[in-house]
């Protein structure tokens, strides 16, 4: 069997095809529920047939054709005007015919961007936007979305159903004007930022990193940043941030699936290509005069990325960037990260008081990193018993399995039951 035939199934083909086909069929059919149903049926057909006949030579083309045929079938059940039916049939035929060409990829990318902007309707909350986007654009199943967002599958399903219903009411025509595009840019970037964060440190389940979510968010962010109307400095800054952080993905986990801290990561293993893209985009993003949250976060990521070792990191500069970020956002989470930077630049004793007021913040009430950070400061100051107490509190709070394992290790060190590092 030739090497080409051996691996015809590209990584995440089904998920990517889902995302692309739903977007394109939504445009053609004007109905995302129908589009989803059609695509699901096409994928299921592959699932039933390929085991017997083997993987087809061009799996992507097969899936596009199957979806196209299914959509044509469905059209027959609609009592629509003959002219409209003819138009739709024509669009659908063009879809499969265009399949081998790169033009189709371009068209599908446009369709995905359009669907992304349509989904980010002002009346939808981030709570429902994120599951909706993960489903329609990311091709994730309900279970996967539920695990990513630390909610029940039924909750994920409900939020998606409600979001779709609202969207159908508010946006029946799927008409995306340049004005709407500019209006929704901020929401779109926010959703992509959340999606990336989910992938970078998946809230639930066993894997700390879901690099496919990160890749998806980055891919869509690049589409936004390069789009004629949607492009803006904030989008470039977000792409910079995502690229710089993605570079570290190969080193986030060790061979056993355990969490590798920044100080122990092998920097030579960071993805040079991603870093290069990140620096280039950051440079582009800072040409104008507008500075956004994403600019500052990207600048912080750039500081880490350009330091040859952990010890050589310019923590003073990072702390200053966090000062600006805190002034801009007032976010307690940012304040927490700032405290960590202060600890590195001025010592744990200076940073510890910064954590005191954060205990009141509702956003951090159940956030394990607050007690965990306190514990690390106390450890560094030699106050091991108090550190152990804080680690214990951190372990009780919701977090990922990989992070829990790491915390237990820290606790054991603080209690002196394991030799420290």
């Amino acid at each position: 069997m030739s090497p080409e035939t051996v691996q015809r199934l590209v990584d995440n083909l089904f998920r990517h095809q889902w995302g692309q086909l739903v977007a394109t069929l939504t445009r053609i059919l004007g109905d995302f529920d129908l589009a989803e149903e059609v695509v699901q049926e096409a994928l299921l057909k592959a699932l039933r047939i390929w085991p017997y006949r083997g993987i087809p030579d061009n799996p992507r083309a097969w899936l596009v054709t199957a979806a196209r045929n299914r959509a044509l079938d469905q059209l027959r059940h609609f009592s629509i005007h003959q002219k409209k039916a003819d138009e739709l049939t024509q669009s659908l035929r063009l879809l499969a015919d265009a399949c081998p060409t790169p033009r189709l990829s371009e068209l599908m990318a446009d369709d995905q961007l359009k669907l992304l902007f349509l989904c980010c309707h002002p009346s939808l909350s981030p709570d429902s936007l994120l599951p909706l986007t993960l489903k329609l654009l990311g091709g994730l199943g309900n279970d996967e979305i539920a695990r990513a967002l630390l909610i029940q599958p039924s909750t994920a399903a409900q939020r998606i159903v409600r979001a779709k219903r609202r969207l159908r009411q508010q946006e029946p025509d799927f008409d995306l004007t340049p004005a709407k595009t500019r209006q929704r840019r901020e929401a779109v970037l926010k959703v992509l930022y959340l999606m990336f964060n989910e992938g970078y440190a998946a809230s639930g389940g066993d894997s700390l990193v879901r690099s496919d979510l990160c890749r998806e968010a980055l891919r869509l962010a690049i589409l936004v940043a390069d789009h004629a109307v949607a492009a803006c400095a904030e989008a470039d800054a977000l792409v910079a941030l995502m690229s710089l952080q993605s570079a570290r993905l190969p080193q986030r986990l060790d061979a056993g699936g355990g969490l590798l801290l920044l100080q122990t990561q092998d920097r030579s293993e960071w993805d040079a290509e991603s870093l290069k893209t990140g620096f280039e985009r950051l440079e582009k993003a800072t040409r104008g005069k507008r500075i956004s949250e994403y600019h500052l976060q990207a600048a912080i990521a750039a500081e880490h990325a350009s330091a040859p070792t952990f010890e050589a990191t310019d923590w003073c500069r990072i702390a200053l960037l966090y000062d600006d970020l805190l002034a801009m956002t007032g976010s307690p989470l940012v304040a927490l990260n700032r405290a960590v930077a202060v600890a590195h630049s001025r010592g744990a004793a200076s940073a510890l008081p910064l954590l005191d007021s954060l205990g009141e913040a509702p956003e951090l009430k159940d956030y394990y990193l607050l007690p965990a950070t306190r514990a690390r400061f106390l450890s560094a100051m030699g106050r091991r018993d108090e550190a152990a107490e804080c680690f214990r509190r951190a372990i009780e709070l919701p977090c990922n399995e990989a992070e829990k394992r790491f915390l237990r290790k820290c606790l054991a060190e603080a209690e002196g039951t394991v030799a420290g590092d």
Partner: protein, 116 residues
């Protein structure tokens, strides 16, 4: 070398709520199984049957009776079949034992094809 028919029985609800990523995992397992058989040159044919209940003909006094098949209360249907080459039943069963179909809750009926 003898030939054996593998009949793949399955319940229709399998894969009802499956996500694209999960589908890909399933197909990847089949791909690997296929590749193994093909490399060993043991796979003669593999076909999926269409997703309908088919028909059953029964003898009667006059014309044969044609009904929707197979039997009214079955929850299992035959999804498809493979024809494989193996030396004997033991070898055929070993070959079928890592077919992903089993991992997803289906049964595989193995019958030797009479060469006569």
């Amino acid at each position: 070398m003898a030939q054996f028919l593998l009949l793949l029985h399955e319940k229709p609800e399998t894969f009802a709520q499956i996500s694209p990523a999960q589908m890909q995992q399933v197909i990847e397992k089949y791909r690997a199984w296929h590749e193994k058989l093909a490399t060993e040159q043991k796979l003669v044919d593999g076909r999926k049957l269409t997703d309908d209940v088919g028909r059953v003909l029964r003898p009667s006094d006059s014309e044969p009776l044609v009904t929707d098949g197979p039997y009214s209360e079955t929850k299992e249907v035959i999804g498809g079949f493979f024809v494989v080459e193996a030396t004997d039943y033991d070898a055929a069963c070993t070959l079928a034992s890592d077919c992903p179909h089993l991992a997803y809750g289906g049964n595989i009926e193995v019958r030797e094809v009479d060469p006569a």
